[in-house]
């Protein structure tokens, strides 16, 4: 269904990719949502937003039901789309796109920041200086040189992390749903989940959150890990049982953690907060001007293509060809 000027509804204003926004505005009717709450939005969907073709943003099943029949595309401005009920969208004939590539580098960069900070035990040092004690009482950390980095989930981000890990002398092994080709894995050995848990000095998570990966790291998995293992998570908090991780950190089984994500953001397990050997940052994975601009541009480009019947760039995996839509 095409309109001469398709209507695209933005849930957040574009802040970075302004030129792209202007280009889009010349071919489509772009509007930033004015509804101030969910109920008001539902009412607006019946009136002023009843002809929207594409939405740039995020969604649960109830909201998806309320969307007008004209709505064909939801163009998510992020890589992880666990917040969108894909099945509900598919049932309503709505195609969902995400923004996987732009997030790769920024997320991998932050992974290394957390990995280095954790293995070097830098959190206590950062705090000690600010308290005026310089490095009094601060313990030594460890070098990454020669350590084994186990990557769980060897997609774009996992592979980008491996590339960055090389010059630090880290040896990478990985586990993935499927084994990669030698070239894609760039020489990293493919191991079973169990072997990865038992052999890694550092474990870094790079899987999407779904029913298979929720709590894939719990007390049992932690028990299998090496003593003094380091855990890094820039994927989704709920992949790890946060309380189990906190307990293992306290007991010293886990030497340190570097986390960007948490089970119930913005809340964080209290035990974790109380441990100095946890390097914690508040979900900053892609918070750079360059990456946000690239994500915005990609979401807008998908919206534009959807409106004009052109093939979409990055339809979510569950809806790709061969799957029902």
């Amino acid at each position: 269904m095409r309109h001469p000027r398709p209507q695209i509804l933005f849930f957040n204003p574009v802040r970075h990719a302004l030129r792209k926004y202007q280009e889009l505005a010349s071919v489509a009717q772009v509007e930033v949502i004015s509804s101030t709450n969910r109920l008001e939005f539902f009412k607006d969907l019946e009136k002023k937003y009843k002809d929207i073709t594409a939405i740039y943003s995020k969604f649960d099943a109830e909201l998806i039901q309320k969307l007008p029949a004209s709505l064909k595309f939801i163009c998510h401005n992020g890589a992880g789309y666990d917040a969108i009920d894909i099945q509900a969208c598919t049932a309503r004939g709505i195609t969902v796109t995400n923004a996987p590539d732009p997030v790769t580098n920024a997320t991998a960069d932050l992974t290394l920041f957390l990995l280095l900070g954790a293995i070097r035990q830098l959190n206590p040092s950062l705090g000690s200086l600010r308290k005026g004690a310089f490095k009094t009482g601060v313990d030594f950390g460890h070098d990454p040189q020669g350590k084994i980095l186990g990557i769980i989930g060897m997609g774009r981000i996992g592979r980008a992390v491996k590339r960055r890990a090389e010059p630090f002398g880290l040896k990478t092994i990985y586990h993935n749903r499927n084994q990669l080709t030698e070239a894609e894995a760039a020489g990293a050995p493919y191991v079973s989940f169990h072997e990865l848990l038992t052999k890694s000095d550092i474990i870094s998570l790079h899987v999407p959150l779904n029913s298979q990966t929720r709590y894939m790291i719990g007390a049992d998995e932690i028990a299998k890990m090496k003593d003094s293992v380091v855990i890094v998570n820039t994927a989704r908090g709920a992949i790890i049982d946060e309380a189990a991780m906190a307990a293992a950190l306290d007991s010293g089984k886990i030497a340190s953690v570097g986390l960007d994500v948490y089970e119930n953001e913005p809340e964080i397990n209290k035990t974790l907060m109380g441990n100095e050997r946890a390097l914690l940052i508040p979900h900053l994975g892609t918070h750079t001007t360059e990456t946000l601009a690239a994500m915005e541009s990609l979401a807008m480009e998908n919206a534009r293509r959807g409106c004009f019947g052109e093939s979409l760039l990055t339809v979510v995996t569950e809806q790709q060809e061969g799957k029902s839509l």
């Binding site: 040092s125 950390g141 460890h142």
Partner: protein, 271 residues
């Protein structure tokens, strides 16, 4: 009584890079004039990767202006009231001041993050050592780098090598990383450049007057500050100790050091 060489071992073997010495006492036949010829060794190479690792941690943190969200989350305020955006290292120019072992290790890591490497050194390196990095003049390094990493040694010639004049020449939004020696930078000038926004952020492991840290730095939200932990790992400290012990053992056996400081290597032994 003729005394041959008496080697006095100093009680304290100091494990800092430039501080290990062995004193030889000469007692000439007729008098007890003591002439001290102290040969000094240091621990190069052993410190390289650990220091480079810290430089990269500081760089990534500085690019993200990580201090505010890092403190906000710990105070249960998630990202804080006015979260700012950081920058990606991809395609940025990483300028290395001093392309010795540590500088080259920093360069190798920077490349993996998609950065373009340029360096200034007393003399250009061979292509094998350069690994594709571009040799530039000191001024070009200052003017054109997006991230400037200090990796040179502190000498009379390099004290305050980064001062007000240099900050004026730098790009607006430059990021300064120092894991070398605090005195390379005029700290007050750095504070001013941070406050004016000329410098986007700084990542520092060393300070002019350690363990004192300039108040201006402590009060600036756009800095990542570590307390000189460049080599504070079990493995690196052990490697440094081993090298010091090697030097001592060699000195006792052969009268020579293994890693004598460069300034002394050009002089023939005065023994």
């Amino acid at each position: 009584m003729e005394l041959d060489m008496i080697t006095l071992m100093l009680k304290h073997v100091l494990l800092e890079v430039k501080l290990q010495s062995r004193a030889l006492l000469y007692c000439p036949r007729r008098s007890l004039t003591l002439r001290l010829d102290i040969q000094v060794s240091h621990t190069p190479v052993a410190v390289n990767s650990a220091t480079a690792d810290i430089a990269i941690f500081l760089m990534l943190g500085a690019l993200r202006r990580i201090h505010i969200p890092y403190t906000a989350i710990r105070a249960s305020r998630w990202r804080g009231p006015s979260p700012q955006l950081g920058h990606d290292p991809q395609d940025k120019v990483l300028g290395i001041l001093g392309m010795g072992g540590i500088g080259r290790d920093v360069a190798a890591r920077g490349k993996a993050f998609g950065m373009k490497i340029q360096y200034y050194n007393r003399s250009p390196l061979s292509p094998e050592l350069e690994q594709g990095a571009k040799y530039v003049s000191f001024e070009e390094l200052i003017r054109t780098s997006d991230v400037l990493s200090l990796n040179c040694s502190l000498t009379k010639a390099t004290i305050g090598i980064i001062g007000k004049k240099e900050f004026e020449l730098m790009k607006t939004g430059v990021i300064i990383i120092n894991t070398a020696r605090g005195k390379l930078i005029d700290e007050a000038a750095l504070v001013e450049a941070l406050n004016s926004g000329k410098v986007f952020s700084a990542g520092l492991d060393v300070y002019e007057e350690e363990p004192e840290v300039h108040t201006g730095l402590l009060q600036n939200p756009n800095v990542v500050l570590l307390p000189h932990v460049g080599t504070s790992t079990v493995e690196t400290q052990r490697n440094m100790e081993l090298l010091v012990l090697d030097n001592l053992a060699n000195a006792l056996k052969n009268g020579q050091l293994v890693t004598q400081v460069p300034e002394q290597k050009t002089q023939a032994s005065k023994l």
